[in-house]
Amino acid sequence: MTQAKTERTPGKDAKKDAMKALRAERAQWVGPATAKAAEHKKAQKAIRACLAQASATPPEIAAATGLAPDTTLWLLASMKKFGEVVEADKTGAYYRYALAAQAPESGEG
């Protein structure tokens, strides 16, 4: 069993090595992209946690999460595109946003 785990499968290894080489070659982009993805993942997690309580307007979400209001709206629009949040009712001059029931996960983002 242990042997099977460590056994080298040439096709897979070649692919892994190729990806490793590409990562090194594209380090100038891979690093910042990874950092951005981590930042957005954290922000989206905070938005999900806020919306899990109740639907909210972008300024309310921004206040609850500490995110800037424009970033909050940008993330909400992105999450809406991938079916994670939906527009709910209106409060004053703002729409409220809610988590979509059984929405498909938009990557790990």
């Binding site: 940008w74 992105s78 990557g107």
Partner: protein, 475 residues
């Protein structure tokens, strides 16, 4: 129509590219630019039996028009008109579409041998996706963890590092950009057809044809060029193409909201001639469509936000086309306020509003007003600067020069090379389509004369035919 009579190079339209190892192809005509002008030209040529390659720099054909909401003066849905043309071009057996392509060189070779050929050398940028294998399922897009501003939505929402460019893009094939990719491998894991190619390289393509039509359109003058209007840094000051996305049915928010915080705007202003008729920006000409698109957007806004105040600050309204004046009068009747004024500057205001400083030209002098959202009616700049790439002549305004603007408006200074649409100067869709039809007709006439000449080569009539080619090419 008997295509063989016109199209002796009927069969060899082979191009590989998009993941093969370079490629080449021989066509009757090359169309550079896959906007509405390029598509209409290609369709009109292909329907006459001529084989065409449409070379597009973006990942999808469709140009500006597929990105618009509705179009003046009819208020038809832009996508409803453009998508069928895009699909017709994609399915036409005489049309080959090449996306993600940069033109490195377009020149005539062997000109003294019966007119020679036009040769285009292209670089096709990698999509990092096998275009034959990709079925457009978007599984990669859903799996990708990287979000980056989506230029297709005015930057108002995010898109993934790998994605289908937009919902009605043609081809419906994914594209991955390495600048935003963290090479996590998730897209390859979920792709049902193993279409991802992380190591795809740019490819060189060589296309040969007897005629070419330049349909490279326009780009919007950048907001960041105008210091008085905030260089693009004032929140809630957007450009007119961004407003098209806010108004579009598949727009970033699904409705018009203020980008700084999602507020439903109560008051929206348009600043006309923001990027035209302005020597300080190097754009001395009128961009012709800005008055009409601002009026159109204002009408659409008053439909979607009936309680909002909509103001258009203008120097003079240029409603030049058929039914356009009526369109303008209708907008006034709907309650849209037209203020004859030159906007001097814009300032951000606490709370997200924008202060507009303007000089009222009806005598009220210098004044100030606040609006929740300000739209800059930016002008049109040439979409392509051929520079060293192609020896076609350029006019003083930077657009492609037309040598007989009154009698044969699609003729350029380069024999066998024609121009259509906004590539020759700012124009609306009606004029673009009309001109595209004219360019196709001129190119067809030129090709027919060339074919006749080839058939008669080295006969006593050859000289006469050569003269007729020159006439077709130069009016």
């Amino acid at each position: 129509m008997d295509s063989a009579a016109h199209s002796p190079q009927d069969s060899p339209q082979v191009v590989t590219g998009t993941g093969g190892t370079g490629g080449m192809g021989v066509f009757d005509a090359l169309v550079i630019g896959g906007g509405i002008a390029g598509l209409q030209t290609a369709l009109d040529l292909a329907d006459q039996g001529y084989s065409c390659a449409v070379v597009e720099k973006d990942a999808s054909i469709g140009g500006a028009m597929i990105r618009l909401s509705k179009v003046f003066p009819t208020l038809d849905c832009a996508s409803c008109i453009t998508t069928p043309k895009m699909a017709a071009a994609a399915h036409h057996e005489k049309i080959t579409l090449l996306t993600c392509c940069d033109v490195d060189r377009l020149e005539r070779v062997n000109a003294d041998e019966d007119g020679g050929s036009l040769v285009a050398t292209l670089t096709q940028r990698p999509r990092h996706v096998d275009i034959e294998a990709c079925i457009g399922c978007r599984k990669c897009e859903y799996a990708c963890p990287v979000l980056t501003p989506d230029a297709e939505q005015g930057g108002f929402s995010g898109r993934k590092a790998i994605r289908i460019p937009f919902s009605n893009a043609i081809p419906q094939k994914a594209v991955l950009d390495v600048e935003h990719c963290m090479l996590c491998g998730k897209c390859a894991e979920v792709c049902p057809t193993q279409a991802i190619r992380y190591d795809q390289k740019p490819e060189q393509l060589r296309l040969e044809a007897r005629a070419a039509v330049l349909a490279t359109g326009f780009r919007l003058s950048p907001v960041a060029d105008k210091r008085q209007y905030g260089l693009g840094a004032i929140p809630n000051v957007i450009d007119s193409l961004q407003m098209e996305r806010l108004l579009a049915p598949h727009g970033p928010y699904g409705r018009v909201l203020r980008p700084s915080d999602g507020m439903i705007p109560d008051s929206i202003a348009y600043v006309q001639c923001a990027g035209s008729r302005d020597a300080s920006m190097g754009v001395g000409y009128c961009s012709r469509v800005c008055c009409m698109y601002a009026i159109k957007q204002a009408m659409l806004l008053s439909g979607s936000l009936p309680l909002a105040d909509i103001t258009i600050y203008y120097m003079d309204i240029r409603a030049f086309g058929k039914n356009y004046e009526q369109f303008y009068q209708n907008a006034k009747a709907m309650g849209i306020e037209f203020v004859k004024a030159k906007v001097a500057s814009l300032d951000p205001t606490e709370g997200g509003a924008v202060t507009v400083h303007y000089e009222d030209q009806t005598g009220a002098g210098v004044a100030t007003r606040e609006h929740d959202l300000v739209v800059l009616s930016m002008g049109m700049l040439p979409g392509w600067q051929p520079g060293q790439v192609c020896p076609v002549a350029i006019a003083a305004d930077g657009f492609i020069d037309t040598v007989a603007p009154k009698t044969l408006p699609s003729l350029t200074a380069m024999p066998g090379v024609f121009v259509a649409g906004a590539a020759a100067g700012p124009k609306d869709i009606v004029d673009t389509i009309t001109e595209a039809g004219g360019a196709a007709m001129q190119a067809a006439k030129y090709l027919a004369a060339r074919a006749a000449n080839a058939g008669l080569a080295r006969t006593p009539q050859a000289r006469t035919e050569k003269a007729s080619i020159q006439e077709a090419s130069h009016g």
